[in-house]
């Protein structure tokens, strides 16, 4: 998905402007798109809640890397509640290609100072595409329960890794090892459960580890080990430990004292169990310095294999595209977060 060529067809910037003016300019650009390019199919409105203007530009760039596979309209909000009341806006129209078809989409970046920054829901409504889901992506901390943007959204995207101050685009990347996530962060996420589907990009980036471990223990030759587990070890940074540890606890009903969480730069999972008295070991670990994961299953005196897989692109647009593909409540994730907090 990375490396898709896009081209800006038109843009407009307004300082100290009004929503009506921004909508008018957006409409003008949209009509221009209709005249010059064939078609567009919209699938959702993506609202990005950015802590700063720099984050906002990064988010727009990430979304553009979808190229022709595009959710159609992005509205980036940079709220500054402390300043005097003011709205700055930038609207742009971009073209990309998908399967030989030219498609186009708009970006709206709004910097909102003053009290309106606390009522973002009202600001977003006029820009949202009618009759399509609205996804609110929080680049910083997870939203508070009373956030009125959450009430408008059909799904909320968070990144529990960034929210607890870990930098880097991959759960196994270099970076501060960190303590366990502050309870506040995951507590905020838990408070959203049941109100709106929550998709956590950190959870999505850990999907390869989950898939590989699940594949290792699959089948009659290996599965019985899960009925007699002796230990489960998760290494990694804080969010990886909390999420993978919570996942194992909630899925496997681990006996007390079997789960060990170890701070490390790279994420790994290791299960040790027994099959008919023989030790069975399953491990999934990131290979140092490479975007590769090695998965190994070994039954003492029995079958064994090693599987090596490339991790998906480090580009954040990969996780975002995955997230936007499945905007549903994920009971497995919710149980993992709850267990991770327990």
């Amino acid at each position: 998905m990375a490396g898709v060529a896009t081209r800006t067809l038109g843009e407009w910037t307004g300082r100290a402007t009004k929503v009506g003016e921004v909508l008018e300019q957006l409409d003008g650009l949209r009509r221009k798109g209709q005249r010059s390019l064939a078609s567009r199919t919209s699938v959702l409105t993506l609202v990005v809640h950015a802590p700063s203007a720099v984050d906002a530009w990064d988010a727009v760039a990430t979304v553009h890397r979808f190229g022709g596979h595009h959710p159609a309209r992005s509205i980036v909000l940079v709220p500054l509640p402390e300043g005097p009341a003011r709205l700055d806006a930038r609207v742009s129209l971009t073209a990309a290609e998908a399967g030989g078809h030219q498609v186009w989409f708009e970006d709206v970046v709004l910097s909102i100072s003053g009290p309106a920054a606390r009522r973002l829901g009202s600001l977003v409504e006029p820009f949202a595409l009618s009759d399509l889901p609205l996804v609110a992506w929080y680049l910083g901390a997870a939203p508070e329960a009373g956030d009125d943007l959450v009430a408008t959204a059909d799904a909320v995207l968070v990144d529990s890794k960034l929210a607890i101050g870990e930098e880097g685009g991959d759960a196994g990347d270099d970076g501060p090892v960190g303590a366990l996530p502050e309870r506040d962060t995951l507590d905020a996420v838990v408070a959203l459960f049941g109100r709106v589907p929550v998709v956590d990009l950190a959870w999505i980036r850990l999907r390869p580890w989950r898939e590989l471990l699940a594949a290792l223990v699959d089948g009659a030759a290996f599965r019985p080990a899960l009925d007699d587990l002796r230990s489960a070890t998760v290494t990694g940074k804080a969010s990886a430990r909390a999420l993978l540890g919570g996942w194992l606890s909630s899925r496997l009903r681990l006996p007390p004292g079997t789960l060990h969480l170890v701070a490390a730069r790279h994420a790994s999972v290791r299960l040790v169990g027994r099959i008919d008295g023989r030790e069975a070991t399953f491990s999934v670990e990131r290979l140092a310095g490479e975007r590769l994961v090695r998965a190994t299953a070994t039954v003492e005196g029995g079958p064994s294999f090693t599987d090596v897989l490339a991790l998906p692109e480090a580009d954040p647009s990969w996780a975002l595209a995955q997230a936007l593909t499945g905007l549903r409540c994920d009971p497995v994730y919710e149980a993992a977060v709850r267990a991770g907090l327990a």
């Binding site: 699938v43 399967g99 699959d218």
Partner: protein, 502 residues
């Protein structure tokens, strides 16, 4: 067998269980061109289990090492980890009529089970020439390899089209298959069904209330199915001379697509639900009496001409083609479906090589409005509404309807509303083989052809082949790069219609 709790929430039904894929014809073109790349993509997408291996077999003398190298060469752009997976692949050389081949194969499969934990699960994939299907299926039965090795393990067999060359030979092949395997173990591939089209068509028809009310003789005037190829016979002359467009495209791809478009809504979208309705639709297609074939079927061969900017030879001048060949490179036919939904709605089908472009589509033309309140001058740019399912190259849906031309007059004209799958979704479409291989491993036969469907499709094609056996049956010609012979145009003109230009 206990459930795997870690698979919860990870698209459990899109992950293969531990198994061995046994490929017959492993040194062949299909294996290197389609099967290996599909396996690599499934691996890359983490849809294969760790406990997985391919065991290749063919007559070519090779050892494991040679086979593994060939597998690596088949996927030059493989992702990291392919070489590690391939290390577990094995090869057995031998003749399919020799018992030793299968004894050796059994030994190797047992070793793989021991070493990799593949639990006795097998998918036998027949990627050989069709004439060997019979031998292999019977040998597997004789050797007891059609039965699960352990309690709870599975054995399936996948075979490629062509499935017979007429009804009689298809039945013979089926007897061979059924001598060893139960029908629910047999997965007959038609790669057209592996394209997203079938499911997209099911979604379009049965997930929407816009279209289905129009989907019958009440509103549809006629249907046109086009499967056009721009290429000529190329290097496949040897095969093509014995097949022709009817066997190569119509008997399988076209009739399958047509069945999905014409079938009644199934109660469920599982294998039984979908295939029961498809076979009912095929059964309702009226087979022409051999004497009536000439009025409903046009066969033709391409003559020299210009295709895609190049001057090209006629079919009979192609290398490997008999200069007096009557093998059709083009066929156009009119089909009637005798049921309440479609009685009186003709389905016109055409397929050919050396047509102007590569395109596959199904176009539903609606009946004209009962009365046009516009003047003839104002409505001359207006045609009947149409709904086109575009299957390739750019999969999507086009709606043609009338709209007013802006301005003072009340002129109305056709406009097209295009929907393209590629531009609407964030994920890419899987390749047909990737999809079907995974379905066979997972055990979902929905997109494979059941024996009664094969038979029914031959029931439709057999009388045509019989009529063509008559040496006086005409073989029309068309210029390469054109949309077919004038005889095919006449087929529609007689009904007051004409072919679309896709």
């Amino acid at each position: 067998m206990h459930d795997n709790p870690l698979l919860e929430g990870l698209d459990r039904d899109r992950r293969a269980p531990p198994c061995v894929l046994v490929v017959y014809g492993a040194s062949g073109d299909l294996t290197s061109r389609k099967i290996m790349p599909a396996i690599e993509r499934l691996h890359r997408q983490r849809q294969l289990p760790g406990a997985f291996a391919v065991v290749g077999t063919a007559r070519t003398e090779m050892d494991d090492d040679d086979f593994q190298k060939a597998c690596l060469r088949s996927v030059p752009d493989a992702a990291a980890g392919w070489d590690e997976l391939v290390k577990g692949f094995r090869y057995v050389a031998g003749d399919y009529t020799a018992t030793e081949t299968f004894d050796r194969l059994k030994e190797v499969l047992a070793e793989v089970d021991e070493q990799r934990g593949t639990s006795g699960n097998r998918v036998h994939y027949l990627a050989t020439v069709p004439s060997l299907f019979d031998d292999i299926a019977r040998a597997l039965g004789r050797e007891g390899m059609h039965e699960p090795r352990f309690d709870g393990s599975f054995v399936r067999i996948v075979c490629e089209k062509p499935y017979g060359r007429d009804l009689a030979s298809a039945r013979e092949l089926d007897d061979a298959m059924h001598s060893a395997f139960a029908e629910d173990q047999i997965y007959r591939i038609d790669h057209y069904l592996g394209k997203e089209t079938v499911q997209n068509t099911l979604a379009l028809r049965f997930a929407n209330s816009f279209f289905e009310p129009l989907w019958s003789r009440q509103h549809i005037d006629h249907v046109q199915v086009t499967v056009a190829e721009s290429v000529g016979v190329g290097t496949r002359a040897g095969f093509y001379e014995t097949a022709g467009a009817l066997r190569d495209i119509v008997q399988n791809h076209v009739l399958q697509v047509l069945a999905v478009c014409a079938m009644e809504p199934p109660a469920t979208l599982d294998a039984t639900g979908v295939r029961d309705e498809k076979v009912k639709a095929l059964r309702a297609i009226r087979p022409w009496d051999p004497v009536d074939v000439v009025d409903h079927v046009v066969r033709a061969q391409y003559d020299s001409g210009w295709a895609e900017g190049e001057q090209v030879k006629g079919y009979r001048s192609e290398q490997g083609v008999d200069p007096s060949s009557t093998t059709e490179t083009y066929v156009a036919l009119k089909l009637e479906i005798d049921n309440w939904r479609w009685a009186g709605v003709p389905f016109y089908v055409r397929t050919g090589k050396r047509l102007p472009k590569r395109v596959t589509e199904v176009a539903f033309t609606l009946k004209a409005v009962p009365h046009l309140p516009f003047t003839t001058r104002d409505s001359r740019g207006l045609s009947p509404n149409a709904l086109v399912l575009r299957i390739q190259p750019d999969e999507g849906i086009t709606l043609r309807f009338g709209a007013k031309v802006p301005g003072g007059s009340f002129e109305v004209r056709d406009v097209l509303m295009d929907f393209s799958y590629g531009a609407s979704f964030l994920q890419d479409t899987p390749d047909a083989y990737e999809r079907l291989l995974l379905d066979a491993m997972v055990g979902d036969p929905t997109l494979f052809i059941r024996t009664d469907e094969v038979e029914q499709a031959w029931q439709i094609c057999d009388p045509i082949l019989e009529a063509w056996n008559d040496p006086s049956y005409p073989v029309a010609t068309y210029e390469a790069g054109s949309w077919g012979p004038k005889e095919a145009d006449l087929l529609l003109q007689r009904d007051g219609r004409r072919w679309r230009t896709p």
